[in-house]
Amino acid sequence: MQIRVKCSCGEGKCPEWAIVELQGVVEVQPDFQDRLQNLQIGLLCRPSSQENYTFTVGYHELTGSKVPLKKPLLVLKKIKHSNAEEDSATVNLSRVEMEVIGIIRHRILFKIRPKALISSKLLLVLLSF
């Protein structure tokens, strides 16, 4: 079968998406496990005019930078067209299309081990004694 790749964004006008990428996994506290929607992950800061960023997640601070992707990534969405009059037996005959809904050219990459904010503060406190 053939799945056509469609693009309705028009000439070179694909909306740009962004990637924030970090090593490892962000674990959500058990209380929030079932209601992630709208939950804040962290705060992304750009402290200077350089393309360096910090990302503060809980007690951790990550340092990273904005890097262009060597090759762009397309965001494809699978779309199933099933005719309403068709019954469920013919469901696998429904036409599938891929639609380009976005393009990604940059990611903000955090690849260094996070700094623990608490412990460094503690350390400061200890040092001041």
């Binding site: 053939q2 790749v5 000439e11 998406w17 929607q37 762009p72 990534l73 397309l74 990604i104 903000i108």
Partner: protein, 432 residues
């Protein structure tokens, strides 16, 4: 939505255009979830225009690995996973994403200082250019070649069309064969397939044999020159002999090449090599034969004015010495699979050791990917000895292996062991 904030105030743009000395909250999107219908595809910049102009598609049956085809090329699609957390942030008003959204979510989405993560991408799809997978094409077309009886049994044909068995339209082939349009077209040409009543068909070997003989017979009767056959005249005469016009002119294309014609329509010259090869194949279909008998019979069968030459059969036959006799038998490169691993495996089953001059015609490679693909070789693989011989053209382009990214030296290194008893001896290749 009552307020129409410009898109730059949230979502991806806010992240990508974050001003110095400022910050933005990154949160899970109101619609955050696995979103398995969202796929990331890594794509070379030069393929982007093809995508934007709707010239690419995924092809393959559910049990095959999908390929992505542009007009002229075929790419394998590989999933590359990552252990990083890849937070995917759509634009603030991602078209196509919020179709299921409930009213309550809107309030949250308009939160200007936040960028929302719609999903964590487990990885992305990457593309690797590959040779088109054409093995299946010959198999499909070989199921039901065009034969003598079909001309007379039109009723049966109609029946066949009705239940649609083993007849394939262009769109059916696109559905079933993993190749780009250009590659498929080139493969159909090199298989000498033709479109009859909307269906792509091969013509049965016996039928082509009868047709070619009738053409040669008529050329003697009517004193036509084999170097300047006028299509209208030839097709007219063959038609009166009972051959459909379309197939008669197909015969000229298969065995001839067009020459600069006069005012009287298209003019063709029969190709010595292709015609002679046709008769050689006919003889060898009887099995292994002594060299002298073969050459004698071949020369007798060839039309007057054409010279047979054993070199014409490169890649078509092998010889072996039994005692003092040399025997020749049919071993056609077009019957070998297109994947290098399978092809080398079959070659070494045929012979454990190959001299370079024998091996070379069976492993010719084209690795210049810069060539337009119509010119590029069309590898094919199949073995279809089942239903008797079918006609396959053998122009020099059609027989080569094409393996993007690998040179012939690379393939030899990978699949063969090269031995050279002495410095001046010819190298011998055996299985690795």
């Amino acid at each position: 939505m009552e307020q129409s904030q410009p898109d730059c105030c949230g979502g991806a743009a806010a992240v990508l255009n974050l001003q110095p000395n400022s910050s933005i909250s990154v949160a899970y999107h109101p619609l955050f979830g696995p979103h398995d219908d969202l796929i990331l595809l890594e794509l070379d910049e030069k393929l982007l225009p093809d995508v934007l102009h709707h010239r690419v598609s995924f092809r393959g049956q559910p049990d095959e690995d999908a390929v992505l085809c542009t007009r002229s090329k075929t790419y394998a699609v590989k999933f590359v996973g990552t252990s990083n957390s890849v937070f995917l942030i759509p634009p603030s008003d991602p078209s196509g994403l919020h179709e299921n959204e409930q009213d309550g979510d809107k309030v949250q989405r308009d939160n200007k200082a936040a960028a929302s993560v719609i999903k964590v991408a487990p990885g992305s799809m990457e593309l690797v250019e590959v040779a088109p997978r054409l093995d299946k094409l010959k198999m499909l077309l070989s199921e039901n070649p065009y034969k003598f009886d079909e001309v007379f049994e039109m009723d049966e044909l109609n029946e066949m069309v009705d239940c649609n068995t083993s007849l394939y339209r262009w769109d059916d082939l696109i559905d079933k064969v993993q190749a780009s349009d250009d590659e498929l077209r080139a493969a159909l040409k090199s298989l000498s397939a033709l479109e009859i009543d909307g269906y792509w068909r091969l013509v049965d070997e016996d039928y082509m044999d009868g047709l070619l003989n009738m053409l040669l017979h008529n050329s003697v009767l009517n004193e036509w020159s084999l170097d300047a056959l006028h299509e209208d005249e030839v097709v007219g005469v063959l038609h009166s002999d009972g051959f459909p016009c379309k197939i008669a002119s197909h015969c000229l294309q298969v065995y001839g090449s067009e020459v600069e014609g006069g005012s009287r329509g298209r003019v063709w010259r029969l190709d010595e090599r292709r015609v002679c090869m046709h008769f050689a194949r006919g003889i060898l279909r009887g099995g292994k034969i002594k060299m002298e008998s073969f050459m004698g019979e071949w020369a007798r069968k060839a039309p007057e004015g054409m010279q047979v030459n054993f070199d014409m059969l490169e890649g078509e036959v092998l010889t072996e010495k039994l005692g003092i006799q040399t025997w020749v038998y049919s071993y056609s490169v077009s019957s070998l699979p297109s994947s290098p691993a399978e092809r080398f495996s079959l070659l070494f089953q045929e012979r454990p050791k190959w001299e370079w001059k024998d091996l070379q015609p069976y492993i010719r490679f084209i690795f210049s990917l810069a060539l337009p693909s119509v010119l590029c070789a069309v590898p094919f693989a199949f073995s279809c000895k089942s239903k008797g011989g079918f006609y396959f053209s053998c122009d020099c382009f059609s027989r080569d292996l094409r393996v993007p990214g690998l040179t012939s030296d690379g393939l030899l290194l990978k699949y063969t062991r090269r031995t050279q008893p002495t410095l001046d001896a010819d190298p011998v290749f055996s299985a690795r």
